[in-house]
C-alpha cells in the first residue's frame, strides 16, 4: 500500500524549489520510499496510535508540503510511505520488514512501536544496514544491544537512568518537608519490573523507606485493592510504574479513596492529553514519566502543528521523542543523502537540532533527556534532570485532590 499526499501546495512548492535550484535542474527523481510496519490493530494499537503513527503522518505531510526531503545538493525528493500492520505480532513484524526490504525495495525504514517489536525487527534492520532510530524502546540491556547492532540509535536512555532522575528529584524535596515513606506499584512486565527494581535501589540510596511494594498483571484496570492499601498506609510518596489504562485507573482510584501523598507519580499515560482531559484540575501536581520544556517555542509550534494536522494533541513523552527521531533523520539526509551506511555514520557522529533541543549520541545512545514531568496548570512540564535545562521547579507538595 502506497500513500502519498502530493497536495497542490507541494507541487507548487516543488516547482518553486526546482526553479530556485535551476542550475542543478535534472530529471526529477522519483520519491524516496520509506517503509514501516506498525501495530494498527491488536494490544499494541493503543500505544502506536498515540505516539508513533500520528508523528509519521505529520512528518510525511509537512515534508511533502515543503517539497520533499532536502538532499545534499539542495534538491528535494518527496516521501512515499509504504506501511503495513503487524497486528501486534512479532512474526508479522518480521515478515513485514522482509517484504518492505525485498519486495517493495524501500530506501529507508522507520521503526515499529514498542520494545519487543523493535527487538523483533532489529536483526532485519541490521542485515539491511538501515538506520534504526528507536524512540519507543526502553530496556536495561541497551548498551549491549547497540554493540550488537551498530545501526541502532536509542532515543531513550535506560530505565535505571530514568529512576536516578526521579530519586534525585525526590531527594531534593527532603528539605521541603517530604517525609521518607514510599509506596510502589508496578505492572508486571519488562517495563514495570525494570523500573521498579531500579527504583528499589534508588530509593534505598536516597534514604527513603518502602512501605508497600505491589505488582499487578498487565491489563489490570481494577486497582482498588492496591490503592486502598496505600491509602491506609498514608505514604509520603506514591510511585506507580504503569501503562496508560492502569495509569488512569490508579489516578481515579486514588482520588476516590482520598490517597493524598505529597508526591503522586504514575508512568506511561500521565503525559497523554487524555490524562488532562479525563482529570482536568485534578491532574495538577501529578508527576509522570516524560515532560517537555513548554517555554520552548519549537515545542509550542510542534504541539500546534500536531493538533492541526493530526487533529489531536501529542503526548509529552514518546510523541515528542518520536518526532525528534524524524528530525534527526531529515537533517542527516540533508547532509549525506539517501545512503544508509553514510546515514548511520552521520547520525552517530553529529549533533542534531530538534524540538527537544540538541540531540547527540554517545555510543549510539542519546544521553541527556527529561525523565520526570508534572502537570502544572494544564501543561506537562519537565522537572528533572535539571542539568538538561528547560526544567521547572516542582509543585510541592502535590495539592490534595479537589472534590469532583
Amino acid at each position: 500500500m502506497r500513500i502519498t499526499h502530493p497536495s497542490r501546495r507541494a507541487v507548487v512548492g516543488g516547482i518553486a524549489a526546482a526553479a530556485l535550484a535551476a542550475p542543478q535542474v535534472r530529471a526529477q527523481p522519483g520519491p524516496v520510499k520509506i517503509g514501516f510496519s506498525i501495530s494498527k490493530t491488536g494490544p499494541n494499537a493503543g500505544g502506536a496510535n498515540v505516539t508513533t503513527l500520528p508523528n509519521y503522518q505529520l512528518w510525511l505531510k509537512e515534508t511533502n508540503d515543503a517539497g520533499g526531503l532536502r538532499l545534499p545538493g539542495g534538491q528535494r525528493r518527496a516521501i512515499e510511505f509504504v506501511e503495513y500492520d503487524d497486528r501486534s505480532q512479532s512474526e508479522e513484524a518480521v515478515r513485514n520488514i522482509e517484504r518492505l526490504v525485498n519486495q517493495d525495495k524501500v530506501d529507508l525504514l522507520l521503526p515499529p512501536w514498542g520494545t519487543a517489536m523493535n527487538l523483533a525487527v532489529a536483526p532485519s534492520f541490521n542485515r539491511g544496514g538501515f538506520p534504526h532510530l528507536a524512540s519507543t524502546f526502553f530496556v536495561e540491556r541497551q548498551p549491549e544491544l547497540v554493540k550488537r547492532w551498530n545501526n541502532m540509535f536509542l532515543f531513550l536512555d535506560r530505565p535505571s537512568t530514568a529512576i536516578t532522575a526521579l530519586t534525585d528529584l525526590l531527594a531534593t524535596l527532603k528539605d521541603k518537608g517530604l517525609g521518607n515513606t514510599v509506596a510502589l506499584a508496578s505492572v508486571q512486565d519488562q517495563f514495570g519490573l525494570e523500573l521498579v527494581s531500579a527504583a528499589r535501589a534508588g530509593i534505598a540510596r536516597a534514604g527513603f523507606q518502602i512501605v508497600m511494594d505491589r505488582q499487578y498483571p498487565p491489563g489490570t484496570q481494577d486497582l482498588a485493592p492496591i490503592i486502598s492499601e496505600a491509602a491506609r498506609l498514608k505514604p509520603d510518596m506514591f510511585l506507580a510504574f504503569s501503562y496508560p489504562p492502569d495509569t488512569l485507573a490508579l489516578t481515579e482510584q486514588a482520588r476516590i479513596a482520598g490517597l493524598n501523598p505529597k508526591v503522586f507519580y504514575t508512568a506511561v499515560g500521565t503525559a497523554f492529553p487524555l490524562y488532562k482531559q479525563r482529570f482536568g484540575a485534578n491532574a495538577e501536581g501529578v508527576m509522570g514519566i516524560g515532560g517537555v520544556d513548554v517555554t520552548n517555542p519549537r515545542i509550542k509550534d510542534y504541539i500546534e502543528r500536531h493538533n492541526r494536522i493530526v487533529g489531536r494533541e501529542p503526548d509529552r513523552w514518546a510523541s515528542t521523542t518520536t518526532y525528534s527521531t524524524l528530525q534527526v533523520l531529515t537533517q542527516a539526509i540533508e547532509r549525506v543523502g539517501i545512503d544508509k551506511a553514510a546515514l548511520v555514520r552521520d547520525i552517530g557522529a553529529n549533533s542534531f537540532d530538534t524540538i527537544l533541543g540538541p540531540i547527540k549520541f554517545v555510543d549510539n545512545q542519546r544521553v541527556d533527556q527529561w525523565w520526570v514531568g508534572q502537570w502544572q496548570q494544564g501543561e506537562f512540564v519537565a522537572l528533572a534532570p535539571t542539568k538538561v535545562g528547560g526544567t521547572k521547579a516542582p509543585i510541592f507538595p502535590k495539592p490534595a485532590w479537589p472534590t469532583a
Binding site: M1, K40, T41, G42, P43, E83, Y84, D85, R87, Q89, S90, E91, E92, V94, R95, N96, E98, R99, V101, N102, Q103, T115, A116, L119, A120, A122, P123, E140, R141, R148, Q188, D189, Q190, L193, E194, S197, Q215, P217, P218
Partner: protein, 316 residues
C-alpha cells in the same frame, strides 16, 4: 504393508524433497512467507491429530508453543542447540500428559474453554515466576539460526508430524480415536481404553507444538509471555485446521496455505482495512465452503467419479 500403503509416505517424502531446496532459490521475503506457512502447517496438522478424530476442540496450542519458545529462551545459550529441541519436546510431553489426564472428564465447550484457561494460566504463572525470580519479564533469544535453518527444521517437523499421523491412522490407536469421536461411551463399552488413546495422541500433538515454539523463538530475538503464549496462535490454528478439514491428515494444510496466502494478500495491500476484509472473507468461507476445503475436494471427486462412471457405463 503392501505396495499401496507406501503411496502416502512416499508422497510426503517426495513433496518434502521438492520443497527442501527452495531456500537456495527463494529470496528472503518468500522465505519469510514460507516459514509462516510451515509454522502453521505443523501446528494445524498436529492440532488435528488429536482434535480431528476425537472432536475435542483444543485451544491449548499457545500453551505448548509458548513452553517451547521459553525452553529455547532459557536453554538456548546454555545447551547445544541440537539438544534444546528434544528437551523442549520432553517438557511439552510431560506437561501434556498432566493436562491430558486432568481433562478426561471434560467434554464439549467445557473442554474448549478449559484448554483456553490452561494456556492463560501457564502464561500468568510464567509471568509471575519470571518477575519473582528473574527480576524482569521477557527474554532475549540471541541464537544464530538463519531463516533457512528455521525453514528446514519446520519442514523436517512437518514430515515427521505427517508420517506420525499416517501411522496413527493405520494403527489400532487411530481406530480407537475415531470410535471415541463417534461416541465415547460406546467406545468404552466396546473395550477401548479411551484414557490411553486420548492422552497418548494429545501428548503426541502437544509435543510437536512445543518443538515448533522452540524453533520459532530465535526468529523474534525477544520473547515475553504475551508474545510466546499469544492466544491468537491458538485461534488461528483452530480456524485454519477447521477450514481445511480436520478429518483428513492433509486437511489442515489445505486450510493453512490458502488462509496464510489470504492473510498475506490482505496485509500487503490493505493495511488500513485488514480487519474488515479478513472478517468478510471468513464469513464468505463459512457460508460458501460449509465443509472445509476437504469437503470441496470430496464433492468434486464425487462429481467427477459419477461422471466417470456414467461414461464407463452409459446405460446407468
Amino acid at each position: 504393508m503392501n505396495a499401496k500403503d507406501w503411496i502416502v509416505p512416499l508422497a510426503i517424502l517426495a513433496a518434502a524433497a521438492v520443497l527442501a531446496p527452495l531456500p537456495l532459490v527463494a529470496g528472503s521475503y518468500w522465505m519469510a512467507l514460507l516459514v509462516n506457512v510451515l509454522m502453521y502447517a505443523v501446528l494445524a496438522t498436529a492440532w488435528a491429530l488429536f482434535s480431528g478424530p476425537t472432536h475435542y476442540v483444543s485451544l491449548a496450542t499457545a500453551a505448548f508453543f509458548g513452553l517451547g519458545a521459553y525452553t529455547m529462551a532459557f536453554l538456548g545459550e546454555k545447551l547445544p542447540l541440537a539438544l534444546v529441541y528434544p528437551v523442549a519436546a520432553l517438557i511439552g510431553a510431560v506437561i501434556a500428559t498432566i493436562v491430558g489426564l486432568s481433562t478426561l472428564r471434560l467434554s464439549g465447550v467445557y473442554f474448549v474453554i478449559f484448554t483456553f484457561g490452561l494456556a492463560e494460566l501457564v502464561r500468568q504463572l510464567v509471568t509471575w515466576a519470571e518477575a519473582k525470580y528473574g527480576g524482569t519479564v521477557g527474554r532475549f533469544v540471541f541464537i544464530d539460526v538463519t531463516q533457512q535453518g528455521i525453514y528446514w527444521m519446520l519442514l523436517g517437523v512437518l514430515v515427521l508430524v505427517l508420517l506420525t499421523g499416517f501411522l496413527i491412522q493405520r494403527s489400532r490407536l487411530g481406530w480407537a480415536l475415531k470410535a471415541i469421536g463417534e461416541d465415547e461411551t460406546v467406545a468404552r463399552h466396546a473395550g477401548i481404553d479411551t484414557t490411553v488413546a486420548k492422552v497418548a495422541v494429545f501428548v503426541i500433538s502437544a509435543t510437536f507444538m512445543t518443538v515448533v515454539g522452540a524453533i520459532m523463538a530465535p526468529r523474534w530475538t525477544y520473547i515475553d509471555p504475551s508474545i510466546a503464549f499469544n492466544p491468537i496462535i491458538s485461534f488461528q490454528v483452530l480456524i485454519m485446521a477447521l477450514l481445511g478439514g480436520a478429518a483428513r491428515l492433509y486437511g489442515p494444510i489445505l486450510g493453512v496455505v490458502p488462509l496464510a496466502t489470504l492473510f498475506e494478500i490482505l496485509q500487503a495491500n490493505f493495511p488500513n482495512s485488514f480487519s474488515i476484509l479478513l472478517g468478510l472473507a471468513f464469513l464468505v468461507i463459512v457460508y460458501f465452503v460449509p465443509s472445509g476445503i476437504v469437503g470441496l475436494i470430496d464433492q468434486g471427486r464425487d462429481v467427477l467419479g459419477r461422471a466417470g462412471r456414467r461414461r464407463a457405463h452409459p446405460a446407468e
